[in-house]
């Protein structure tokens, strides 16, 4: 249908425990590319999910698989998680937080963003230049929604589900990731203490790579206001924090206004 009408492509896929929205504004047929992305996301879910006991990550986490027997893909992601734990001073650490499968290995805070960054690369390779992918609130934009406009990315208000705290007007490529605990049952563990962290109501990170932005958003949420100084040392990444009191704080080049 898209091929015939040359309408923009919009697809929502329920995968990875949430919904992934793919919004391609280029005219043309991208159905095959969207299928490719959808297959990729289900592959990531099957391989990395900590909700599935048969995923490679779960089996490694509970000791059923040796590191030697991990696929190259999983090894690379876990190696990246080790680097991220180092860069974030342990505030994002996939290796010491309790996972749903009962292990202490949960790379989900990087994997979701990483997989969407890959998906964006796949769409780019397929000829799409203007699109937005949103995976459970983690956003990757490319180009523009229309020639004369920029992407308007709302940041959800921490207290009001249908309200926005802020609207960013940005041009791609850009990644936007938000960490918060406003969803029922959600909590974020401070890997340094093992206890839930409650410093902030929400933490948003922007930058070039959604995997890193995703991990940094978690780290920033754990750091609290100290994250403002920390993020200044992470080239290309910016943070926007909302406290429980409702005050907002942002780093020097956050794309506000």
């Amino acid at each position: 249908m898209n091929a015939a009408t040359h309408e923009p492509t919009h697809h929502v896929e329920l995968v990875m425990g949430t919904a992934v929205s793919i919004d391609i504004r280029d005219r043309g047929s991208f159905a095959a590319r969207v299928d490719e992305v959808v297959a990729w996301l289900h592959h990531v879910d099957a391989t990395f999910s900590t909700y599935r006991n048969d995923s490679e990550v779960s089996r490694f986490g509970v000791g059923e698989l040796d590191a030697d027997h991990l696929s190259r893909e999983v090894q690379q992601v876990l190696a990246r998680c080790i680097e991220l734990a180092d860069v974030t001073n342990g505030c994002f650490d996939a290796f010491v937080v309790p996972a749903p499968n009962g292990s202490m290995l949960d790379p989900s805070g990087y994997v979701k963003g990483w997989s969407i960054e890959r998906a964006a690369q796949m769409l780019t390779a397929g000829g799409a230049a203007n699109f937005c992918i949103n995976a459970g609130g983690d956003v990757a934009v490319r180009g523009r929604p229309a020639p004369a406009t920029r992407w308007r990315v709302g940041i959800r208000h921490p207290d009001e589900r249908e309200m926005l705290a802020l609207v960013l007007e940005v041009e791609g490529p850009l990644a936007v990731a938000t960490s918060a605990t406003y969803e029922r049952g959600a909590h974020i563990i401070d890997p340094r203490t093992g206890a839930p962290t409650t410093h902030l109501a929400s933490a948003t990170v922007t930058g070039p790579d959604l995997g890193i932005a995703d991990a940094y958003a978690t780290a920033t949420f754990v750091m609290g206001l100290d994250a403002l100084a920390w993020i200044e040392d992470q080239p290309g990444y910016e943070a926007y924090l909302i406290t429980h009191e409702g005050t907002t704080h942002w780093s020097s080049a956050f794309p506000i206004g």
């Binding site: 929205s21 609130g137 983690d138 207290d159 020097s252």
Partner: protein, 150 residues
């Protein structure tokens, strides 16, 4: 002169600039209006008004690193229609530099929360249920139903 920069340094800009950028703004800027504007203006504008007239809700002054900020929300038929800045810091030179940035944001952000003409929403949605209840879900449904104006 050209050799001044240190290749090993990862810092992009002086810490002072960073701190200036880390503006502390009242919660009015975040759309935290339901909390801030719980207090009704003592001038009594909201009690017996006709449904179409606007009511003013004055927020408590909020201390920021640059001084005190106080705003008034104009509400009509239960909908926020405008935000007026009543008091803002201007004494210090740093404030002068930041006011130009911060105060327009106080207005536009609060309004944007309700006019909400956005393409997508960043938020922490960890479950399918969370997605189903999210603004992003509403946006997707509108798009899938053929409302392509967004």
């Amino acid at each position: 002169m050209a050799a001044r920069s240190r290749p090993t340094s990862r810092r992009r800009r002086p810490a002072r600039v960073a701190r200036l950028g880390a503006l502390v703004v009242s919660c009015a800027a975040t759309g935290g209006l339901t909390l801030l504007f719980a207090k009704v203006d003592p001038s009594g504008a909201s009690a017996n008004v006709a449904p179409s007239s606007a009511s003013g809700f004055v927020g408590d002054p909020v201390a920021t690193v640059y001084g005190s900020v106080q705003v008034q929300a104009q509400v009509r038929d239960g909908v926020l229609v405008d935000v007026v800045v009543l008091a803002y810091p201007s004494a210090r030179s740093a404030s002068v530099a930041t006011n130009a940035l911060v105060l327009p944001q106080l207005r536009t952000q609060a309004l944007a929360s309700q006019s909400a003409r956005v393409h997508t929403v960043s938020g922490a949605t960890y479950t399918s249920e969370g997605y189903a209840r999210s603004l992003q879900s509403a946006l997707d449904n509108a798009r899938l139903a053929g409302a392509t104006k967004l």
